[in-house]
């Protein structure tokens, strides 16, 4: 029978209160690790929104603005860029592939993206994954539309569903391009990126629905029907932005400089990785706040343990006196209390990790369903283990205080305490 055995038996003797403590600390561990895991995975998901793209080019504004509207489909471009500039730059010897992007229309709150078939061929997200179809195919006809997984799910669309595109963003009382309805020909697999919330049509289709429009309104009296438009030879005059893949990453900065100094039009080229980092940096206060809150929860848990251990000291004075009388030295008493708080925090941490993984296993499909964020169930990172280690260390240190008090008590009480 060692000191640990003694601690364990004494622990079991007071299991009701200690179990509550254990639950409380383990919940704080769940929160601490949970916040960190979500933070880490959100960051990973965020920075993998677009990959393999070397440069994104748009009208001159700020790099975050350009990133937001071209990749996240948030906000609007300050200006469009001409088709001619796009053609010029994409024919540069360093360019391997290019994807034109034309934004500005919507369908029931979801963005409509006009692009070329290069989008399905070259666009990459996550770990350089290409887009894949769960049903159907890419667009071929003028009025074909491919929809993201989330669009299909939220609106209940299948292959063949008719889609009417509205001018501008928003979901109500927008002018609609209802004279030229589209047909769903393909549905993409979920990606966990803004692509899921996008409807994709060809650049020609964007041109077609605007052929009889000017300055954002349909010209009265000059209505062009869908049949007429099919016969027209449509060529885009302007687009919103474009993505470039280069032959060699070494030429990135060279080409970036060249685009930024483009003479015919004020253009800007950004490196998506850098822009993503800057954008994430803007959220870092949220990240830090969350972390601080979960840290405070742990502190309050440990303080609770401290309070509990201290308040139990009085009722345990007899226990300590008996131990002293059978030969336990003050150092044994101190060890006993530290072992106890170590035991409580260690069990709490184990329970907390267990609960966390159970929650992740059961909640990750739900979270993906509700928020489109994929929570990968993976092992704890080194940093997370360090967090766990800090909790255990703080818990054991909390045992030092009552341990010292008990040590002092046992010296003062001697062995003849009478209760």
């Amino acid at each position: 029978m060692t000191l640990f055995h003694l601690t364990w038996k004494s622990f079991l003797n007071r299991k009701a209160t200690l179990l509550m403590m254990l639950l409380s600390i383990s919940m704080s561990v769940v929160l601490l690790l949970g916040v960190d895991i979500i933070r880490q995975q959100a960051k990973e998901g965020f920075s993998s929104t677009v990959s393999s793209t070397d440069l994104i080019v748009g009208a001159r504004s700020g790099q975050i603005n350009l990133l937001l509207y071209s990749v996240f489909h948030i906000g609007n471009a300050t200006n469009n860029i001409t088709w001619k500039s796009y053609e010029n730059i994409s024919q540069d010897a360093n360019v391997k592939w290019s994807i034109p992007l034309s934004l500005g229309d919507s369908h029931r709150g979801f963005r409509v993206l006009g692009t070329s078939s290069a989008y399905f061929e070259h666009y990459r997200y996550g770990a350089k994954q290409p887009l894949a179809f769960s049903q159907g195919r890419g667009f071929e006809g003028l009025f074909d539309v491919v929809i993201g997984a989330e669009v299909a799910k939220k609106l209940g669309y299948n292959l063949g569903s008719p889609v009417v595109i509205a001018h501008g963003m928003g979901s109500a009382s927008l002018m609609k391009h209802d004279d030229k309805p589209f047909n769903v020909v393909g549905i993409l697999k979920p990606t966990g990126t803004p692509v899921d919330n996008t409807l994709i049509v060809s650049l020609e289709a964007i041109e077609a629905i605007h052929v009889d429009w000017q300055s954002g309104v349909q010209l009265p009296g000059s209505k062009v029907t869908a049949e007429q438009v099919l016969k027209m030879k449509l060529k885009p005059k302007q687009i919103t932005a474009f993505m470039l893949g280069l032959n060699s990453r070494l030429s990135t900065f060279h080409l970036q400089r060249k685009i930024n100094q483009y003479r015919n039009e004020p253009l800007m080229a950004i490196l998506p990785g850098l822009a993503l980092q800057e954008l994430w940096g803007m959220f870092s206060f949220v990240e830090k706040t969350l972390f601080a809150i979960s840290g405070l929860v742990v502190v309050s848990g440990v303080l609770g343990l401290l309070a509990l251990l201290l308040s139990s000291l009085n009722e345990r004075r007899r226990e300590m006196a008996i131990l002293r009388s059978v030969g336990a030295r003050p150092i044994h008493i101190l060890t006993l209390l530290i072992l106890e708080s170590l035991l409580v925090t260690l069990l709490s941490v184990l329970l907390g990790i267990g609960v966390l993984y159970l929650v992740m296993l059961y909640a990750s499909p739900l979270i993906q369903d509700q928020f489109g964020v994929r929570l990968a169930v993976q092992g704890l990172s080194l940093w997370q283990w360090q967090l766990v280690g800090m909790v255990v260390a703080a818990g054991s240190l909390a045992g030092l205080v009552p341990g010292y008090r008990a040590y002092r008590n046992s010296l003062a009480d001697g062995m003849s305490i009478k209760l």
Binding site: M1, A328, P330, G414, M415, S416, K418
Partner: protein, 234 residues
């Protein structure tokens, strides 16, 4: 020639506030002797036991136990000395309620390697020694041994604590009112068992009580009496 187990010379103990509590001009006890010290409550019995155990240090005076001068020993040495050579029995509530009978009896041998070695010497193992002593003290029911001490009657608890004090044959056993929670029959029976066990293990017994009805069991009797300085003296 008999060897001295305890000698006290010219001892004065005061509480922190300066009130004199206990004076002992001279006290001697030989190995194997059994002494009854009678004192009313408040007469400093517990103080005396704590001084003998080395937990409290006197204002002045010499205490020698088994040839060790307490004044020359550090706190940690005293702790070890007490664990190795002194067994204690208290009034009541002196078992850990969450440990089994056997674990309670074995406790001192966990903290003292000297007592552990002696128990192994005598009985083969600490547990066997505990069982043998429990049997000698009249706790025959073997399946009681694994039960928690809280389940026992006060009389049974006192026998368990006696077994605990004796296991590992400490040279000195100090008993503080161990019979006050027992009725008369149980009291005499317990005392007889305790005395015979001390006889068997050759231990010196210092028995403190306010109850003079127990005096006749002892050959040597002392008394704590009020002294002129306001405290008590032996």
């Amino acid at each position: 020639m008999k060897k001295l187990a305890v000698t006290i010379d010219d001892l004065l103990f005061k509480w922190g506030d300066g009130t004199p509590c206990l004076t002992i001009p001279k006290f001697q006890l030989y190995h194997g002797e059994k002494v009854f010290i009678k004192g009313p409550s408040g007469s400093g019995k517990s103080t005396l036991l704590n001084i003998l155990g080395g937990v409290l240090a006197p204002e002045h005076g010499d205490i020698k136990v088994l040839g060790h001068d307490y004044a020359l020993m550090k706190m940690s040495q005293l702790d070890k000395f007490r664990a190795d050579h002194i067994g204690f029995i208290f009034q009541q509530f002196n078992l850990l309620p969450f440990l089994s009978l056997l674990e309670n009896v074995c406790l001192p041998c966990r903290f003292s390697s000297t007592r552990r070695a002696r128990a192994i010497d005598e009985f083969g193992s600490v547990e066997q020694g505990a069982e043998a002593l429990l049997k000698r003290l009249g706790l025959m029911d073997k399946h009681l041994y694994q039960q928690n001490a809280a389940a026992l009657s006060v009389g049974q608890q006192q026998r368990v604590s006696a077994a605990r004090a004796i296991l590992g044959s400490p040279e000195i056993i100090i008993a503080d009112e161990p019979t006050s929670a027992l009725d008369v029959d149980a009291r005499d029976q317990f005392l007889a068992l305790l005395l015979s066990q001390c006889e068997l293990s050759g231990s010196t017994l210092i028995f403190v009580s306010h109850d003079s009805a127990l005096e006749h069991h002892f050959s040597q009797k002392l008394r704590l009496t009020p002294s002129s300085n306001g405290g008590y003296s032996l």
